[in-house]
Symmetry: C2
Subunit: 226 residues, 2 copies
């Protein structure tokens, strides 16, 4: 399958590495390809520069936001929540309409100090904002409730015995995404319902951030015991 990923940070890289490993044809999209390739310093989070990562993952194609989305039959939003709507507008509706958009972004607001709060929550969500802005895109919110490494490789923790959630209005899109998630190694994919249920998963971030602090590791996840 052709997969386009918007965003070259931790999330974009983790998903790209995994889907290439699974045999898909992947293009990562960035705002400015030359600038991305020219960077030689680790980013603010301490991740190595893209060029170093790319040497280890040479099968991943690189293009602009628009090229990556055009490449994908499934498109992944791996940008920061605060920049997601702007990045997707730069991608352009024409490259997204009719496609499945896997939205992994969280509406984190760092302006009020740490841990971040959310810039939209409770009666709305970033997932809904994206769906409203792109009404002909089949948005599926998922994978936004755990560390980037676990998203793509859930078997790294407790043999994958923990949970991933999914929200979206389009049943066919969710079926495709569930299949992809299962190929990543997720045995427990819970469909919460329509895109308004993204409020629930985005509002998990505040406890995730505090657990990260209490447990001193990002390698944990929620399992719904039933």
């Amino acid at each position: 399958m052709n997969i386009g990923i918007v965003g070259t940070g931790m999330v974009g890289r983790a998903i790209a590495a995994r889907v290439v490993e699974l045999g898909h044809d992947v293009m990562l999209g960035t705002r400015d390809v030359a600038a991305l390739r020219a960077r030689t310093e680790p980013d603010a989070m301490g991740n190595p520069p893209f060029s170093v990562w790319h040497e280890q993952h040479p099968k991943v194609k690189v293009g602009t936001f628009a090229e990556a989305a055009a490449h994908g039959t499934i498109v992944v939003n791996g940008t920061n929540g605060a920049g997601s709507l702007a990045a997707l507008k730069q991608v352009g509706e024409a490259n997204l309409n009719g496609k499945v958009l896997i939205d992994i972004a969280n509406p984190l607001d760092f302006s009020r100090g740490m841990p971040p709060s959310l810039f939209v929550s409770n009666t709305d969500s970033l997932g809904e904002q994206i769906q409203r802005t792109f009404p002909h895109v089949r948005v599926v919110k998922t994978l936004n409730t755990m560390n980037a490494y676990l998203m793509a490789n859930p078997q790294q923790l407790n043999d994958g015995d923990h949970t991933v959630f999914m929200s979206g209005n389009d049943a066919g899109a969710k079926a495709q995404v569930a299949e992809l998630l299962k190929s990543f190694g997720w045995p427990d994919v819970i469909d919460l319902g329509d895109i308004t249920t993204a409020r629930g998963t985005e509002m998990l971030l505040p406890i995730w951030l505090r657990l990260f602090s209490a447990l001193q590791t990002p390698m944990f996840n929620f399992k719904v015991v039933k």
Copy 2:
């Protein structure tokens, strides 16, 4: 131990039944004792009238809000979130100061339809509001992230192999509460930190409510897999 419980709904009853079973001396507090005893109809949630429940739990004492709190060395806030501050003001500071207050309430706002949203979240929480209103009370937020029956009897689900969270400013109070929780059958009690971390657990309610709808049962809980 003497335990006072403010509120005679599902949460108050479930905790009262369990702590009596564990040998504690318990008083449930209500706004109007005569009115509570006189009720003969099930409540809006379909729970049997208090008198029916009380016949099955005769060891539980009943008093006013103030009497129940005065009775307890530990006091439990089992009221609805929307009424918690008013109820605790009726209890009165004198009956609460210096004591451990276990706050189980969630700030559910039913005014915008179902599922409810939260009337405080993101940059504040009900737990913090209670702590600010009663600065000399040792507030511990806990048990607010699962069904009332599981709160008091976690072993009913998966042999208790799931998680309860705790937030509060007072380490000694949290140690006492953790001991009580362990006596309920909770093996995994995670201390998230100070009372501001109650934002994290209260903001779990939106996904809890959607899981309730997706799974068609309230008998589930989160386990932090690490």
